[in-house]
């Protein structure tokens, strides 16, 4: 690539310059702090090389929060630019980069890792396991995600960000129309992270199927575990499609193939098709675990078992199959035959049936219950009406003939923000607050949490509800500005106000993390809310020891921990400890992933030697791993006794 050295670092934009300076200062501060407090070894040994699913979960969540911030700032920049007509806050090129990165970051580097973080932390506990099936892979998954994320994120300071939308449609994304490194960042960043996601899929699929504790049959698993299992199944079969599609576009951009190009009889439509073959199941990958989280929380704070558990299971299994049969609704307007559009229109509408069933099941879980309005419950309750709005507009979009009028408009933008924010983001907040005491040994402050909730909910509706009308009034998505005579000014301005309210709520949320760390009372039991129903609350201390359970629990029915409490059994009274086998930490995943990042960065700039060096390095780490016969270690009975005695003291 004939990239001049003075074009390597992006200059000339005050916003980007500001970001560059703060990133630089932030990194210096972090390095200085780690050195000053002599925490490097601790960081490396206790966290970065850890195969403990709980620590990996927390690292995922921290990265996701960081990405929520980055993606949120992107969103606020877009809303600022659209607040009034003819705004000149961002030029069109910059706006295009911002919305492209906003989409990718929010879906791939925020929603998925946030949920995978919660899954990592909670699911092994809920099934009564000591760790996942493949702890080494789990660490590798985290690292590939992290490196992919880092590679994608540096694009805006080095070389320029992708600017062809988060969907990267060809031929716009081919070299002819998107020269420069931007789109390469997209392809390689997502590719590296995608490998990690696929491994997570395999890992948790096998973990849930094979590592359940005694007595926990499939139909005795918590709903969150069920949704995770199905999500992982979808990941296993959807992510390879993305892998191939990205590789094919990478070949087009780097190695001269002509699959999606205007040259050589390529077919740009094929990219669109493959992207959505993955893209639609992806939507369910980020929504199903959310359904699981809401199921847990609603049932906990209504003090009732989940209504129609079997129907819930059937509905998620149905969704998993249907999710692979609806992808065409993302491009009804591509001129497909009427038969194709009709078929996919009907399958899409059909998916609303199992989803509708779930909504009513949640409502009736609370029927004749005793509902307490804690913050996690508030988020879950707000999910129902907001998600219904998103869902019904989804059915409207599914009607292909009508979709021709909504497609590519703010109606669509509003729809998917309604489902993704009220589904996924609410679930992330709800799940994090709900399981926060399990992770950190203290609750988040409820009062501040309620402020966050109300500001966010109001901001969310003020931001996105007007967008339905903007869409119906003909405002296409992805335009960087509009004219006064378009008549969209008022609603756009309202929408921007709402976006800033959400931003405010996020800041207060972060403050709450700090506030609670300083002032919240520490938890004394493993069951922080006093209402826990599943095994994650059955550990001996508020923060589970690294082996999770001193003695693995036995399960006889749904909601096992609730059962234990009803029967007055104390799980932890059992003192017949045996040595526990645990996996060893490993530095291989971190090194391997960094090498992937090294190779990826080289390929972004067509520096093939870097790609080759990186690839050789990756193979060497694989060989090292192959010859590694470390089987882990045993925790002695004395150590277990000591740890258990210290629990919650």
């Amino acid at each position: 690539m004939d990239l001049k050295w003075n074009e390597f670092i992006i200059t000339g934009d005050p916003l980007i310059l500001g970001a560059q300076i703060s990133i630089l200062l932030g990194s210096i501060a972090a390095v200085a702090a780690l050195t000053y407090f002599k925490k490097w070894t601790w960081l490396w040994k206790e966290w970065l090389t850890s195969v403990d699913h709980k620590k990996l979960g927390i690292m995922y969540i921290l990265s996701a929060l960081l990405m929520l911030f980055r993606g949120g700032v992107d969103g606020l920049m877009m809303r600022t630019q659209l607040a009034t007509p003819n705004m000149e806050f961002l030029d069109p090129q910059h706006y295009n980069e911002v919305f492209s990165t906003h989409g990718v970051i929010m879906i791939i580097f925020m929603a998925m890792p946030f949920l995978i973080g919660l899954i990592n932390y909670i699911v092994p506990l809920q099934i009564g396991a000591r760790d996942v099936a493949f702890p080494f892979l789990n660490n590798l998954s985290f690292w590939t995600f992290f490196v992919g994320m880092a590679l994608f994120n540096i694009s805006f300071i080095i070389g320029g960000s992708p600017d062809a939308g988060w969907t990267g449609y060809t031929p716009l994304a081919t070299n002819d129309f998107s020269p420069g490194p931007g789109q390469n960042y997209y392809l390689l960043g997502i590719q590296i992270a995608g490998i990690g996601t696929l491994m997570t899929g395999i890992n948790f699929f096998v973990t849930i199927l094979k590592m359940r504790t005694k007595g926990m049959t499939l139909m005795k698993m918590s709903m969150f575990t069920w949704t995770t299992l199905i999500t992982m199944l979808i990941i296993i079969f959807a992510f390879p499609v993305l892998t191939v599609a990205l590789a094919m576009q990478t070949f087009d951009r780097l190695f001269g193939s002509v699959l999606f190009t205007l040259h050589g009889d390529g077919n740009p439509m094929l990219w669109v098709n493959l992207f959505w073959v993955w893209g639609h199941p992806e939507v369910y990958i980020v929504i199903l675990p959310a359904f699981g989280i809401f199921s847990e929380i609603i049932s906990t704070f209504a003090r009732k078992q989940l209504f129609a558990y079997k129907a819930m299971v059937v509905s998620i299994v149905t969704i998993s199959v249907l999710s692979f049969l609806v992808w065409v609704h993302h491009f009804f307007t591509m001129g497909n035959s009427a038969e194709a559009n009709s078929f996919f229109s009907i399958t899409t509408m059909a998916i609303s049936i199992p989803t509708g069933v779930k909504i009513f099941n949640w409502l009736f879980t609370m029927y004749r219950g005793r509902i307490t309005f804690t913050t996690p419950m508030l988020w879950s309750l707000a999910f129902i009406p907001n998600f219904v709005i998103g869902g019904v507009t989804g059915v409207m979009l599914a009607m292909a003939a009508a979709d021709y009028q909504y497609h590519n408009t703010y109606f669509l933008v509003s729809h998917f923000h309604y489902v993704l924010i009220s589904g996924t983001v609410f679930a992330c907040f709800a799940g994090l607050i709900y399981w926060y005491p399990k992770m950190f040994g203290h609750k988040m402050n409820e009062k501040i949490g309620k402020w966050v909730f109300w500001i966010f909910i109001i901001g969310f509706n003020v931001c996105f509800f007007p967008q339905y009308f903007l869409g119906l009034d003909g405002m296409p998505r992805r335009i960087s500005t509009y004219l006064p005579e378009d008549g969209w000014t008022g609603l756009n301005f309202i929408s921007t106000v709402g976006a800033f309210l959400m931003g405010l709520a996020f800041i207060i949320f972060v403050y709450n993390i700090y506030y609670s760390w300083r002032y919240a009372p520490r938890e004394k039991t493993g069951d922080a809310w006093g209402l826990g129903r599943n095994l994650e609350w059955a550990t001996s201390s508020s923060i589970p020891p690294h082996y999770n359970f001193a003695v693995l629990p036995e399960v006889t029915g749904l909601d096992p921990y609730w059962d234990m409490k009803e029967k007055g059994l104390d799980q932890q009274k059992n003192v017949d400890y045996k040595p526990i086998h645990m996996p060893s930490n490993s530095a291989v995943p971190a090194i391997m992933s960094v090498l992937m990042g090294f190779a990826g960065f080289g390929l972004v700039f067509h520096w093939y030697w870097m790609g080759i060096v990186g690839a050789i390095g990756i193979f060497i780490t694989m060989i090292v791993r192959s010859f590694d016969y470390n089987d882990g270690y045993y925790i002695s009975v004395e150590e277990i006794k000591e740890t258990e005695a210290k629990a919650n003291k």
């Binding site: 420069g180 307007t333 001129g335 009709s342 069933v357 029927y367 004749r368 003939a401 009308f469 296409p476």
Partner: protein
């Protein structure tokens, strides 16, 4: 009961807090529910729901039908949620608490069957409309029935629109005139990026793709000026890729055609190729005698644009490059334009949509 056990009951303070929350929750859900009609009343009718032709009105009818169903569903859920939250919130005398209730065959069947019925009710008109939109709108009167649809090729070029009237042998940039009460058959293609032709007042959009041809039927029944634009993101100048549609009486339309035929300059290949260079059209709109179909139909040759760039000396550049200037050669320095390159795509039979449908086994 076990749940009377101290650990399970929340402190009184917290309970008071939750009741406060509940009071706040109610107005919010009401607000949400009322917002829709309020907003509808507050603004003028959105473009999509204010159709100016038969295609848009079919779609608008379908949309309104679906909105009615959806509002009903939303209402049911909101009311149910409100009732449940009010009735079963935690309070001192929770006599209604029945934790053993975790399923009801009857209820589950009801809320599985009803959505199925709704989906079926919505699927029938949807499918009917999908098929109906593949054909030109039915003529309203017998005399109109004799007229074929007006054929217009709509070609998207980064970031402008070229409209070609093959029968009239004229071409316009960034605006078009159409007669009212007559179906227009748009033949959509793109010289480069994937775009979507969208005139909300007249009907929904469809993609323009290089190397492909898609067909979109639209019709205006009311004279007026309508906004049209590219709805699918095509890069830097996407914003500006918009056009005006002048729908007018047949006589006025004919007069406009004649005017263009008589007064507009001849389209040269060099000039057309220059249009293919990505950019916003500086002059706003233009009209030409003759069409680009004499050299190229982008639905048959996707590579033409890239070849034209080569000829002219245009090179795509990194958007972050410091020097983005281009050195476009003048016409007389390019031998290619000194020769006759006419292929004339306009003569060929373009109406083989059926073939395209039949081509898959």
């Amino acid at each position: 009961m076990q749940r009377e056990n101290g650990t399970f009951v929340n402190s009184g303070k917290e309970r008071k807090g939750s009741r406060r929350m509940l009071k706040k929750l109610k107005p919010l859900s009401l607000l949400l529910f009322l917002a829709l009609p309020l907003m509808l009343a507050g603004c003028s009718t959105p473009e999509v729901l204010d159709p100016k032709g038969p295609v848009a009105s079919q779609q608008s009818d379908l949309i309104i039908l679906s909105i009615i169903f959806m509002l009903t569903i939303v209402a049911v859920v909101f009311v149910l949620l409100t009732i449940i939250l009010v009735k079963y919130r935690e309070r001192k005398d929770h006599d209604k608490y029945s934790p053993e209730l975790h399923g009801s065959m009857l209820l589950e069947t009801i809320w599985t069957i009803i959505p199925i019925i709704i989906v079926v009710i919505l699927a029938v008109p949807t499918v009917r409309t999908i098929y109906s939109l593949e054909k030109a709108p039915e003529p309203k009167s017998a005399e109109a029935a004799s007229e074929d649809p007006l054929v217009i090729h709509a070609t998207s070029i980064n970031w402008k629109w070229v409209f070609t009237y093959p029968d009239e042998d004229i071409e316009t940039v960034n605006y078009l005139h159409i007669p009212i009460h007559r179906p227009v058959e748009f033949k959509l293609t793109s010289a480069d990026s994937m775009a979507a032709l969208w005139i909300p007042s007249l009907g929904g959009q469809k993609y323009n793709m290089a190397g492909m041809q898609t067909t979109l039927y639209l019709q205006a029944d009311e004279a007026g000026v309508y906004d049209g634009r590219n709805a699918n993101f095509t890069g830097e100048g996407f914003n500006e890729q918009r056009f005006k549609v002048y729908a007018e009486e047949e006589a006025d339309y004919q007069q406009w055609v004649e005017e263009v035929q008589n007064s507009a300059p001849e389209l040269t290949q060099y000039e057309y190729d220059n249009l293919l260079i990505p950019g916003v059209y500086d002059d706003g709109t233009a009209e030409f005698n003759g069409t680009h179909l004499q050299w190229i139909d982008h639905s048959k040759n996707a590579e033409y644009t890239l070849e034209a760039w080569d000829r002219l000396g245009y090179e795509p550049k990194n958007p972050h490059a410091k020097d983005k200037s281009q050195n476009i050669l003048p016409e007389d320095e390019i031998p290619y334009y000194q020769q006759d390159n006419t292929v004339d795509y306009s003569d060929e039979d373009m109406d083989n949509n059926e073939h395209a449908h039949a081509s898959h086994e």
